[in-house]
């Protein structure tokens, strides 16, 4: 796969992960260059989230290699894994905000707990990040349960980028949002990624979102990448899986999976 540098920021080779008898990832290969925005598309239950969780170390693959900046990360000891995680930010599908904390405490959580920053300094950064996603200081003291879905996504986005991570993962960033709010979130992702120059890996089945935020798109099916290329090429990929997926046709080579991975 093409990269912007000789050593990809993320390089995955031969990744295998199964749950019981179900093989979710089956020798998956993928690269993501430094500063690149890669979007992985695929149907529900094809293992997109599993791929991201394997890269983050939340799941342990049975086989394969995951390299970050050229260094192997599979089987890292706990302490080294904690250091590695400081390079990452993650926007979860359901936002995963801590409901026991208010908005700014959520955004500042990684700075205070993970990096030992003093609360006042972390609060300043949290307010700046909230402002960058269009939320004023009046929101900072609200409980997360008081926020709408769109606002929760924004807060989660602010939290994901609070510590200026080198790589940010976006898991279905627009799922469950109305089209306007989805576009707002897409704009914010593009802005955040471009401004900070971070590497972004997004997983989605929302093609509008994929087209907007991706430099490059990869399609995951049956545990492997069946196509990848620049976003501009998606409409003439010549790949029957991609064609079926982007046009949302029931007929084609993709067989719908009933159970989630």
């Amino acid at each position: 796969m093409s990269t912007t540098h000789s050593v990809p920021k993320i390089s995955v080779r031969g990744l295998c992960k199964s749950f019981g008898r179900k093989q979710v990832l089956d020798g998956l290969d993928i690269d993501c260059g430094r500063g690149e925005s890669l979007v992985v598309i695929g149907g529900s239950g094809t293992g997109k989230s599993v791929l991201v969780k394997c890269i983050l170390g939340l799941l342990h693959p049975e086989a394969g290699s995951i390299r970050i900046d050229g260094a192997e990360t599979v089987g890292l000891p706990r302490a080294a894994r904690e250091r590695l995680l400081q390079k990452f930010g993650m926007l979860f599908q359901g936002s995963a905000l801590f409901d026991s904390l208010n908005v700014w405490e959520n955004v500042a959580f990684g700075l205070v707990r993970g990096r030992g920053m003093e609360r006042p300094a972390a609060r300043e950064i949290a307010l700046a990040r909230l402002a960058s996603v269009g939320l004023g200081p009046e929101v900072s003291l609200l409980r997360t349960a008081e926020l709408s879905g769109g606002m929760q996504k924004r807060v989660a986005l602010a939290r994901a980028i609070a510590a200026a991570p080198e790589i940010v993962f976006f898991d279905e960033p627009t799922t469950g949002l109305d089209p306007i709010m989805a576009d707002v979130i897409n704009d914010l992702i593009v802005k955040c990624v471009r401004e900070v120059g971070t590497t972004a890996v997004s997983i989605t089945h929302d093609m509008v979102s994929a087209r907007k935020i991706a430099d490059r798109i990869a399609m995951l099916y049956e545990g492997r990448i069946v196509w990848h290329g620049p976003t501009a090429d998606i409409d003439h990929s010549g790949n029957p899986y991609v064609d079926q997926f982007i046009h949302g046709r029931a007929d084609g080579p993709i067989k719908m999976q009933v159970r989630a991975a």
């Binding site: 969780k53 983050l56 995680l85 930010g89 995963a96 959580f109 990096r115 030992g116």
Partner: protein, 258 residues
């Protein structure tokens, strides 16, 4: 016949695997206590949640337990003219057995369920994964503070429950059964030994650990949305209650079987 042995064997293997996972979970959580970062504020919050907010329910059960115990002992002992032993029976039963066990069971119902529900909800809503991605070890941040708070606060709760329970017995003894107050108090203190209190407090610390551990373990491993969280909550309370009664026997045997 073969099928029967296969089923027994499978159940036994599952039991061993679960015990191993539980021991590993407890060991890995406790190991985080020896390396920074430490979260004293979180531990303090858990102590308030587990200890302070359990006071009303533990106090109420303790006072009624002491009262019923005095009444039952009196009606039983009066059959062979041993009414004078009521105060001693109440204080020994409460400090050695009923204080820690009833407090443990009440806390298992109140706190064990709450811990399992909270951590279980965090699991199914990806909040635990979010903690990890924010460079925060969930075992260090979520589990260890609850384990420590359980071990520290349960003995405090039981000490208070002991005092309230004995006071309940005193109320019934003096105001309903007509004991002389001074004689009742003498009967209470005369045969009470340090070991009676200590054994109860040791039990309390172990029960506190069990309640917090089962709540955290079940919540941490819950799956499958709201139904999974509900199942985890039930398992946490049931397994903690059974373990409390089992461990109660073992500690009692260790302290008092000579």
């Amino acid at each position: 016949m073969l099928r029967f042995f296969a089923a027994v064997g499978a159940a036994f293997l599952t039991f061993l695997a679960t015990t191993g996972r539980l021991a590993l979970f407890a060991g890995m959580s406790l190991a985080t206590a020896f390396t920074p970062p430490f979260y004293p504020g979180v531990i303090l919050r858990q102590m308030v949640s587990i200890g302070y907010f359990s006071l009303p329910v533990v106090g109420l059960t303790a006072v009624f337990t002491g009262m019923v115990l005095a009444l039952q002992s009196y009606t039983g002992f009066s059959r062979f003219s041993a009414e004078g032993a009521v105060a001693t029976v109440v204080v020994l039963s409460v400090t050695r057995e009923l204080g820690p066990v009833i407090s443990g069971l009440m806390v298992a119902g109140r706190v064990g369920a709450a811990i399992a529900a909270e951590i279980g909800t965090m699991r199914v809503t990806d909040q635990i994964d979010a903690l990890t991605t924010l460079s925060t070890d969930p075992l260090r941040y979520l589990v260890l503070p609850r384990l420590l708070a359980g071990v520290i606060t349960l003995p405090m709760l039981v000490l208070i429950a002991d005092i309230i329970g004995v006071f309940g017995g005193y109320l019934v003894g003096v105001y309903k059964l007509g004991f002389n107050p001074q004689a009742y108090l003498n009967g209470t203190w005369q045969h009470l030994e340090t070991m009676d209190l200590v054994s109860g407090l040791v039990k309390a610390a172990v029960f506190g650990f069990i309640v917090a551990l089962m709540g955290c373990y079940q919540g941490y491993h819950s799956r499958g949305g709201a139904q999974g969280v509900g199942r985890a909550t039930t398992h946490a309370v049931v397994s903690a209650s059974i373990l409390i009664l089992l461990v109660d026997y073992l500690i009692t045997a260790a302290f008092f079987s000579r």
